[in-house]
Amino acid sequence: MLPECAPLAVPFVPFQQTGSKRYSQQDALNNGTLFPGLNLPFHLKAEARNVVNGPLAELQALEFVLLELGLYLDTHQGDAEAFELYKQYAALEREARSKYEAAHGPLFQTATANSKTWGAWLADPWPWNYREGVER
């Protein structure tokens, strides 16, 4: 029963429940969301999804989970379980980032301090560059 002075004349979207089902990090990146309940794809053209691969893929997946959990926590700051999960993924992401940067060069300008020359920051490929056969 709504109260006598019901919340009229304001948009209503149901709150996502705590403890929602989650994808693995790779499936989350492939689907564009961590949460199966929010995965509402465009059905007109069902095509096989590209498998995200390459050295950057694991880091992209971990970072995506952090971003997605971050937005969730912005509106669910009391969800302690989700915050614990955030901390676990943050640790994995730190590890994956230092591994990637050691092998492929800096992702943040400040990480160039660990490189031999400043050219490591300037080096191609920049994110919009893609040549077939050159994996990033």
């Binding site: 002075c5 919340p7 004349a9 304001v10 948009p11 209503f12 979207v13 149901p14 709150f15 996502q16 990146l29 689907n31 564009g32 969301t33 949460f35 929010l38 995965n39 509402l40 794809p41 465009f42 007109l44 053209k45 095509e47 096989a48 999804r49 590209n50 995200v52 390459g54 950057l56 893929a57 880091l59 992209q60 970072e63 995506f64 971003l67 997605e68 971050g70 937005l71 969730y72 912005d74 509106t75 669910h76 700051q77 800096p106 992702l107 943040f108 300008q109 920051w121 920049w126 994110p127 919009w128 893609y130 077939e132 990033r136």
Partner: protein, 198 residues
Amino acid sequence: MFVYEKKLQYPVKIKNTNPQLASWIISQYGGPDGELGASLRYLSQRYAMPYPELKGLLTDIGTEELGHLEMIGTIVHQLTRNLSPDDPRMGNFAPYFTDHGAGVYPTAAAGSPWTAAYIGVKGDIICDLTEDLAAEQKARVTYDNILRQSDDPDVNDVIRFLREREVVHFQRFGEAIRLAKEKMDQKNVYFTNPVLDR
């Protein structure tokens, strides 16, 4: 401040040149419901928000939208990087080419340059967050339309990812309205703006 990370949120690897397709997708760069407008809308709305959850959410989504702007720019670049002006698929990329060559310029598909008239910043919680719900739906529909028009699986894979992000953002903005309403409704009055009407 902002710090650049030298990577995309989601990989963009497009093999085939297709200027016609680029001329449609450029709308999500600088069109009425594109990612440039999205990022500026949310990052600009933050200042009049009185509650920390809303400041945080607008910052985080606005920042993600800047990453999407980069992904759209990347799609347009990769679809046109090996362009020759007599490409049979030049289509309505030809007038764009006259002004911008293979550069990436914020314009709508039909040619109007990006304008701040595309976005709303009203300085009112319910009003701005309601605009944001609509904005996410309009961006989602634009991505639907691009999927209807495009036959390039490399492009569609990325567009599908971006489209799904609009769905998630819609959910979060809807939750933000409810969080705001709970705080504003304590005196059981209509949702006045607590910044102006103390």
